[in-house]
Every structure is written in C-alpha cells, then in structure tokens.
C-alpha cells in the first residue's frame, strides 16, 4: 500500500500556508506571565503614578470613614429618646447627619473619579504597550502560536481587563473599604461586637472556596460554549447562500440548536452556582446579624453599652450585607481579570526584536541605496549606523528549510535576482514557492544557507532595515477599518491627498475609489463599505507603491480575484512593480511569460531557470506547464 509519506503532506500544507486546527501538537502558544511577574508589572505601573494613587485612596478612605459616622449618630438619637430628652435635642445629631451626608458625597465623588483616573491611565498604557509589542512580534512566532492566540488576547483579554478596571475595581475598592472600616467602627462601639460579627467569617470563607472551585472551570466552559455558538452562527449565517443551494438547512439548524442548547445548559448551571453562592451567604448574614443582636442584648443587660450603641451595631451589620456580597462576588471577576492580565503581560514582556548578531555591526556606513534614493528613514527608525543593502539585488545561497525537523521543504536552493529584474517563480502546489517568498521577505529564517539582500546577509540586517528593503504581498487581503485614505497612509503616514491620488491612479484604482460614496474618505473594512477582493488587492498594490521598497515579493496576489479581476490586477501589478526588483509566485502563466526570467521549482529544488522563451525550447517541466496553460488559449489569428 502506498504509505503516503508525511513529509510531502506537511510540506504541501505548509507551502499552502495551511494552518490545521487539528494539529495543535507542534504549536507553541505565546507566553503567559507568572503571577509574581504580573504583580510586578502592576506595581511598576502604580509606581509611575505613586502620588496619584496615594491621593486617590486617601480620599476614598476618608469618604468611607465619614459614612460610618451615620450609624453612631442614629444610635445617639436612640439614646436621647430613651433618656427622655427634649424633642428639640434631636436636632443636633440630625444636623450632623446632614453634614456627614454632604461631606461623604463630595469625598466619594472625588475619590471615585480619582480611582477611575488611576485605573484607566494604567490600563491605557498597558494596552498601548501590548499592541505595540504584538505588532512588533516576528510573524514566525505569531504563526507558530496560531493567529487565534494573539487575536483572542487583543479582543478577549484586553476587554476583560478593561471591564474589570472600569466596573469591578472601583466597586471592589469601595466595598472592601466599607467592610474594613465598618469592622473598625464595630470595634470602636465595643470590641465584643467585632468578635461576634466575625462568627460569620468561617461560613463566608467556606462559601467563597466552594464557589471559586466550581466557578472558574464552569465559566471557562461557558465562554467556550458561547464562542462555539457564535462561531456556528457565523458559519451558518455567513454561508446561508451555500446552505440553501446545497439544501443543508436541516443539518445547519440542528448544528445551531445543539451549540445553542449547550450554551444554555452551561448558563443555567452557572445560575445554579451563583444562586447557591448567595444562598449560602444568606446563612452567614443570619449568623452575623443574630450574633450582633444577641451581643447587644447581653451588653445592654449588663449595662456595658447603651441601647443606642446596640442599635448602631445592628444597623452597621445590616448595612454590610450589600458590600460583602459585592466584594465576595467580585473575587471571581478579579481572578478572571488577573488571568487575562497575565496573558497581556506575557506578550508585553517579550523581547522587542530578536537580538541581532553582535559580530557584524562593523561594516562602516555603507552607501544608502545605489539603485533608489531612500533618504527618508521611517520616523522613529533606528540610527543608520547598522548594515545597509548596497543595491536591490537578491541572492539565495544554498538555502534549505524545514517546518518540522527532518522534513525539508527546500533543498540547496540557489537564486540570483539582479536589481530591477522581475522573476517569476513557477511550480506545482507544494513545491515550496510560498516558502521561498517568506524566506526572502524575512518571515522565516532559512535552516541552512543564507539570503543576501544587496550584498548584506538578511539575517544580520536590523529588522527595520529589512522591512524597508523588502515588501511581501500575499493573497491574504485585509482592508483596514476606517477611511480608505487612512488605510493607505499606514504605508506612508506623511503622504498628502495628492500623493495618494497619484498612487491610486498609477495602479489604476482611482476610478473606482472616486466612485465610492465619499471617495478616499469612504469608511471601508469591517463595518464600513465592503470592497471586492479585486479592490482590496488594488489597495494592497497601492500600499506597496507608497511604502516604496526596492524589493517586492508577490505571492498568489491575484489568485482569488476571479478571471476578470485577475487581469485588471496584472496590469496594476506591472505598474506597481516598475523600477523594483520583483519575485512573483505565479499561478497565471501570463505573469511568467511577461517576467524577465522564470524559475521552476519542483519538490523544493530549482530545476529550471531562464527566460520564458529559452525554457520553452528546453522541453522541460515549464514547457509542459505552458502547454497545459496555452493550448486552450491558442489564438489562430496571432
């Protein structure tokens, strides 16, 4: 039996850029920070705002403390009444109550704003750091972890932490302060009140432990189920036309039903858990309250405290029900947020770039670019003391590459592309074309051999320089959400509108852009005007022209556009590549025919290289490909 070797399977799927959801085995998720490290980062953020933090918490403590005067004042009224004082005597504590109310109100307003300011500015600086680091990660690392990992962190974890900072943190702070200070208040009334109030604590402790043990896995399962339900709905609704055409309605309704019901069942289990939690806390409330009342009874009978003090103690404890429930309930939210925070810190803690080898910083300031003048280093680029390519040529020397050890995708590949030359890379699926594209663009590092750009080893170039030298456009189109002009300016932030229009014109996209509802100001991408695949690729080519790199690599860039779109894009591609060194992974052989040179790749090796015409005469693999391609295109008139 043909035991289809796993080697070729993996090679092919890797070449196709395929990420298989099933094969998580070799996947290395992005790191998660340890608890200690997470705490250290939070402390660091707090330290930067030390003064602000001290003032915020001081004000909040003062606000809570002033609120605690209320109960003893009410107790004083009780004592006055009991002492058969003149009804007018009640006025003084009442006036004090009003003063306390106003002071507490003002202090709370200021305190809450200050705590929010503290939390929000910490959050903002954390999320900015996170996005900065996330966008600077080497692609190989992101892909190794699966693109879902980073996306989940940037959407899920950032918003979990944000909500915690916005909603849970102020509530938790206020509740904790109220609890702490009320206990202090009880002690001031009489220390024995504190002791009996603490009788509720064992029940609360056991309840929280009972709850947390079940809550974390249950809520995690619920989030997964809700995510699966969402994914299924997107699948089904997004593919509704296909479902109808293939009459798959019943199957899909059943899929949605089972996913939705799974989410419902977990939600109901979560409700049972939560009600169980509060139900158990009711027991603690009863124990505490009756203990305080009994203590009051005993102390009043023994003449240790007045009836007013006993009343104050009971009111104190009754007012604690709310804050205790809130604080204990939020423990779980705090844990979820902490887990999210650890995943964010895990990414922000990654080293900025792979350390460049120290040995080759020696070559003195090489001339900028012989081929193109590039006097505009990017705004915050590193000082230009490092290695710089001298021209726009590309050399691939004895390059081998394996996604998994022992399963070589490329073997001893030799390529030379002169500055300004356009070379087409041709070969069957799985031959390793995309892998070469990624290696030259610096997405992956070759396992053996070297990529040389303008005389400089790509492995030793500063990442900034590498990216300014080579651009890679793949069939993966993404239109950035927002005005179309903003999308283009990602490639060149300082471009004027005129410049943008000129570039759009150059790639032949100006006509349709002007026809959009608001021209270049039209909001496109997610949630905006939907562009066709062809239009999105047009934008990608416009970005390429704006970024203006000396070397451009195009991988399957016109593949998905349909036959009519593909031709439009070929014209646009030619315009965008004019004056650049270009490596094109070609599916449509017209691209190969118009290239300066064709390189044929078979099973990870270069088998043929030469101009289109010479290769046709050699009767090799390219000639076969061309025959398949051109036979039905034979034009008897030509």
């Amino acid at each position: 039996m043909p035991n289809d070797p796993p080697l070729s399977s993996e090679a092919a799927s890797a070449e196709a850029g395929a990420v298989d959801a099933g094969s998580v085995a070799g996947r290395e998720l992005l790191p998660t920070a340890t608890t200690a490290r997470t705490r250290a980062v939070v402390r660091g953020l707090l330290r930067e705002r030390r003064g602000q933090a001290v003032v915020a918490f001081a004000v909040l403590i003062a606000a809570t403390a002033s609120g605690l005067v209320t109960a003893p004042l009410l107790g004083q009224i009780v004592d006055l009444v009991r002492g058969r004082a003149d009804p007018a005597a009640v006025t003084t504590p009442v006036v004090l109550l009003v003063v306390v109310a106003i002071v507490q109100g003002v202090l709370t307003a200021v305190g809450v704003s200050l705590v929010a300011r503290l939390g929000e500015s910490m959050l903002a600086s954390l999320r900015e750091r996170f996005v900065e680091r996330a966008l600077s990660l080497p692609l190989q690392q992101v892909e190794g972890a699966g693109s879902g990992d980073l996306t989940a962190r940037v959407t899920g974890d950032v918003s979990t932490v944000s909500e915690a900072v916005r909603e849970a943190l102020p509530e938790l702070a206020r509740s904790a302060l109220t609890i702490g200070l009320t206990l202090v208040g009880l002690t001031v009334l009489d220390w024995r009140f504190l002791v009996v109030a603490l009788l509720a604590v064992p029940v609360q402790f056991l309840t929280v432990r009972w709850y947390l043990r079940r809550a974390m896995p249950l809520y995690a399962a619920e989030r997964v189920a809700v995510g699966a339900q969402q994914q299924q709905l997107l699948d089904t609704v997004g593919g509704a036309a296909t479902v109808r055409a293939f009459r798959l309605k019943e199957d899909h309704v059943e899929r949605v039903t089972s996913r939705s019901w799974a989410a419902v069942e977990l939600a109901l289990r979560a409700v049972r858990l939560m009600t169980g939690f509060f139900g158990r806390l009711n027991v603690a409330e009863f124990i505490g309250l009756s203990a305080v009342l009994v203590a009051g009874f005993v102390l009043v009978r023994g003449d240790v405290v007045t009836l007013g003090t006993a009343t104050a103690a009971a009111l104190y404890f009754h007012n604690l029900f709310g804050p205790i429930n809130t604080a204990l309930f939020l423990i779980d939210e705090a844990q979820v947020a902490a887990a999210g925070l650890a995943r964010l810190v895990g990414v922000t803690d990654l080293p900025t770039t792979q350390p460049a080898p120290a040995n080759d910083r020696t070559r003195p300031g090489a001339p900028p670019s012989a081929n193109r003048s590039r006097e505009t280093p990017s705004a915050n680029g590193s000082p230009t003391g490092g290695l710089v390519p001298v021209d726009a040529s590309v050399r691939v020397h004895g390059v081998g590459f394996a996604y998994a050890a022992g399963h070589d995708v490329l073997n001893e590949v030799e390529l030379a592309i002169e500055a300004g030359e356009t070379v087409a890379l041709v070969g069957a699926s799985g031959a390793g074309k995309s892998t070469i594209a990624k290696l030259v663009a610096g997405v992956h590092r070759p396992t053996t051999g070297a990529i040389v750009l303008g005389g400089a080893d790509a492995a030793e170039l500063a990442p900034e320089t590498l990216r300014r030298t080579v651009a890679l456009i793949t069939q993966e189109v993404h239109v950035f959400a927002g005005p179309l002009a903003d999308d283009l300016r990602l490639a060149r932030p300082d471009a004027t509108d005129e410049h943008l229009r000129a570039v759009l014109d150059r790639v032949g996209a100006l006509a349709w852009v002007d026809a959009l509802p608001d021209g270049m100001a039209t909001v496109v991408g997610d949630g905006g005007h939907r562009l066709t695949v062809t239009q999105a690729q047009h934008l990608a080519l416009a970005r390429l022209v704006l970024a203006d790199p000396p070397v451009a690599i195009l991988d399957e860039a016109t593949a998905d556009a349909g036959s009519a779109g593909a031709r439009t894009l070929e014209t646009a591609t030619a315009a965008a590549l004019a004056g650049r060194t270009a490596l094109i992974v070609a599916h449509r052989l017209t691209q190969a025919a118009t290239a300066d040179r064709v390189i044929v790749l078979e099973a990870g090796r270069v088998t043929e290289t030469g101009t289109h015409d010479t290769l046709l005469t050699t009767d090799g693999h390219y000639a076969t490909l061309w025959a398949a391609w051109s036979a039905p295109r034979h034009d008897p008139v030509a």
């Binding site: 109100g105 692609l139 997107l234």
Partner: protein, 612 residues
Amino acid sequence: MRSDAPSGLRVLGRSIAGQRWLVAGSSLLAGAHQASEAMVPVLIGVIIDEAVSTGSTDALLRWIAVLAGVFTVLSVCYRSSARLGERAVERAAHRLRIELTERILDPRGGAESGRLPGALVNIATDDAKRVGTVNMALPATVSALAAVLVSAVALLNVSVPLGLLVLLGIPPLLGVAHLLGKPLERRSEVEQDRAAHASGVAADLVAGLRVLKGIGAESAAIGRYRQISQESLSATLRAAGARGWHDGIMLAATGIFIAVVALVGGRLAAAGDIGIGGLVTAVGLALFLLTPLSIFAWANRMLAQGRASAGRIASVLAAPPAVVPGGDRLPAAPRGRVRLRDLSHGTLRGVNAEFAPGELTAVVTPDPAAATDLLACLGRHVDPAAGSVELDGVPLSRLDPGEAHTAILVAAHDAALFEGTLLSNIALTTPDPPLNGTSPGSGGAASGGVVASEAVVASEAVVASEVALETVVASEAVVASGTAARAMAAASADEVARALPHGAGTVISERGRSLSGGQRQRVALARALAVDPPVLVLHDPTTAVDPVTEARIATGVRELRRGRTTIMVTASPALLAVADRVLMLSEGTVTAQGSHTDLVRDDETYRSTVLA
C-alpha cells in the same frame, strides 16, 4: 387582519407566553423573597424594642427564631425564583435563535438582504438574549411591588405621618437620581463606543498583521493605535468624573433623606408617639426601600431594551422572501433541459438560450455583474424581472425554491465551506460523524487507489483520538461508495486530502480559512460534483489553481458530468476548451456561440475577454 408577519410586540408577547409557567412561578417566589427582605429591618426594630430594651430572654429567643424563619424563606425563595427566571430567559432566547436561523436559511431567502452576517449573528445572540431577559424583568417587578407593599404596611403601622414621609419621600429621591443618571447614561454610551472603537482598531490591526508586516507599516500602525487609545482614555475619564459625581450626589441625597426621617422619627419617639423599635424600623426601611425602587428602574430599562430588540428580530422574521414559491412539481427524474426565455434581470436584457440535457456549456461574459445576475436567476435567489428560466418546460418561478435547488445546483465562486472534516464537507448526504452502513470494498476500480492511500494517511489519526477513529471508519465507507471519491478525483481534491495531516478526516476550521485558496476551491468543486444534480452550474471554479491541475480538473469535470447538464460561467480557456458549446454574453444578450476554437477565431470581444 394582519398577516402572520410578527411585529416587535408580538415577538415579545410570544417569548413571554412561551415560558408563562416559569415566569409565573418565578414572580411568585420573587415576591416572597423581597417581602422577606423587607421584614429584616422590621425584625431588627422589633428585637431592639421587645428584647434588647426589655432584657427579656424569652422575647429574644422567640424573635431570633422568627428571624431565622424569615431568612430561610428569603434564601429558598431567592434561589428558586432566580433559577426559574433565568431558565425562562435562556429558553426564550434559545427558541428565538432557532427561529431566526430557520428564517435565514429558508429556501425562499430574503432575510439577509441589506444585513451583514455579523449583524445577523448579533440579532440572533444579543437581541435574542435581551428579549429573553424580559422574562426576568417581570418577576423582578412583582418582587419590587411586594417589597414596597410590605414596607408600606410596616411603616404605616409604626406611624402614619412617618410612614407617609418615607413612602412619599422616596419617589422624588429616585427622580433626582434618574435626572442625574440620564446625562451620565448618554455619556457612558459615548464612552463605551469609544472604548469599543479602540479595541476594534486593535483587533483589526492584529487581523491585518501579515499585511502590515509585508509593507513594514508596524510603526505607523502603532502610532495610530496610540492616538486612538489616548482619545478613548480622555473620553473615559470625562465619563468617570461624571459617574463619580452621580454616585456622590446620590449618597448625599440619601443621607439627607435619612436625616429627615431621623428628625421626624426622633421627635415622634421623644414625644412618646412611637417606640424606639419603630424609629429603628423606619430608618432601616428608608434605606432598604431604595433597592426595590431601583429594581423598578432596572425592569423598566430591560423592558425598553427588550422591545427594541424584539423589533429588530421581528424585522428579520418578517423580511419579505426574495422569491415566491409556486405550486408546480418537477418530474421525479428531471431530464435537465434548461431554457432561458427572454430573460431580463439587472444587466441581462432579454437573454434567450437553451441548454440541452447532458450538454456541457460554458458562458463567457466580460461583465462580472452579468454573471452574478445570470447565476442568481439560475439558482433562484431571485425571480427575474421579466422572462423566465425553465427546467424541462416548467418555469422555476412556478416551483418551490427548495425543489428548484434539488434540480439545479449553482456552485458559487465564493461558496462557503463549513466546520467539519474535509470529507463531511464533500459527502453532504452523510452526516458527520457518519456511519450509514455502506460496506467497504464495493468501490469502483478507478477510485481504489484513493481509498487505499486515504485509509493509510487517515489511519495515523486513529492513534491520536477515538473521534478520529470514527471519522476514518466513516471515510472508508463513504469513499468506497464511490460518488465522493470520484468527485474528489475529478476536482483534484484528492490531492488536497493527501496533503493534509489526517487526509480526508482533517478538520476544516473557520469556514475553510485553514486551507489555501486553491485547496478551498477544489474542495468546494468536489462538493458540488458529489451532489450529482441533474443540472450543475459552476462559477469560476478554478481561478486559484495552477494550470496543470486546472487542465486535469477540466477533463475530470467533462468526464464526471457526461450525460448530465452542466453550465460553466467562466473565462478560463482550459475549461472553455472542454465545453461542447460556448455562449458569449455581452451587453446583456447572447452575442455569439460556438466552440471555443471557433469563437477565438471569429469573435474579437471573446478573444479579448478570454485570452489576456
């Protein structure tokens, strides 16, 4: 009478009525719960009065026992009412979700028009949940009413003037809170929008990470995000300040209100009109009553939200169908003669054409819109503005759209793949994981190699998991049955399967995003071929496939569809070359027809469209 198209209110009403027993039970228990909560401050007053101030142990024990009883009722009622209520919420939302899915997938179509998939999914999740939540708002309202009632009785029992002061004083207090809260709510909406925008931008940038890296635009992107993050921060801080003042003013107003209650109560107690316990009860209830009244406000908000959401759900459920079903039936085995008679729709201007049974015809058009319009008419996504598409002499518009789909399958260029194994995406008739008892080994000789190699590749998965085992067993059965294997071979999808780690048993995720464009196309083509419909319409099936494979696919389709009507809308010369006949559709009408070679020789428009 109104049609059966549901309005927002009807959706809401149905969702409550569907769970009426749960809602009623939950309401009853919630009422008992809040009434018990109201009893707690009353009992504190009583215990102070009857036990602490008198020193009677008997009274203490008696009233503590009563307190224990109240807590038991409170706790049990709370738990059961919340559980019943949430069950009603979740069930109602679930039902709406299914109802929406069924409407969206209805063969008559029309529900998606003008809505993005994301928006529809939001309606099926968030809006459905909000409508369901109304089932919790009702018990909450009942519970708040019960609490107010019990408190009112207790307060008036203590003292009529004091009771009236508390009961009449609280509504204005909440009015103040409401007035203060309004601008805050608006502000926090703006703030949430901004925050959502910031996180949306971050997610968008990460989604386009490869594109950013490809052109070295990371630092520009980081700069842009930082700016948006800072804008979001300042909006948030303004809102946080507003919230702080809202909380502060509410606290102060409540405090002042309590002071007034203490003043009046204290004077009444000093004058001997009420007992000390009465004073304590009044103060306790004044604080407690804020809870039920804020429950009213919450329930009211949920009801308003629920109504808005119900309106959105109703607009999907009531969306007019894209096509109206007719009553005619197709013959049991359609011969597959398709005729376009004066077909006008969109860019089509009176197209006349006939596709004979068993013929392989290609349609070429330089205008992508014309292709889209033609495919929409053939697939019966729309009924043509004028003229008709006939199948075996029956106009499609006189058929049920579901029935039309059984006879004519239009395989769209952007057809979606679904989550599941590669095989379950192709062999649709077999559910996943499928075991329909087809005996292995009955396959044709042509597919023998496929069977063997796939079984071997897939057998590696057996070790990995039991689930995989089922898939493998199933794949053997299905491949052996032949149809799927032949379709896969014709579409060169067998190559795709071989390249995947678990062969045809490999799970495809995210609507086929885990495959490359060319792989996705071949799997989608294999699926369409495997259905083996009387009439198959293919739209640009090979745009992302290399020329050698494309040529192989052209031959494969030609062979597999022998004797069945096939229409290919394409400009690919490889496919055109295998067609029996090619129609040139230009300016909305058929301008030329003939073989590919003839048209290339004779038709200038054709040449420029096909041979770039």
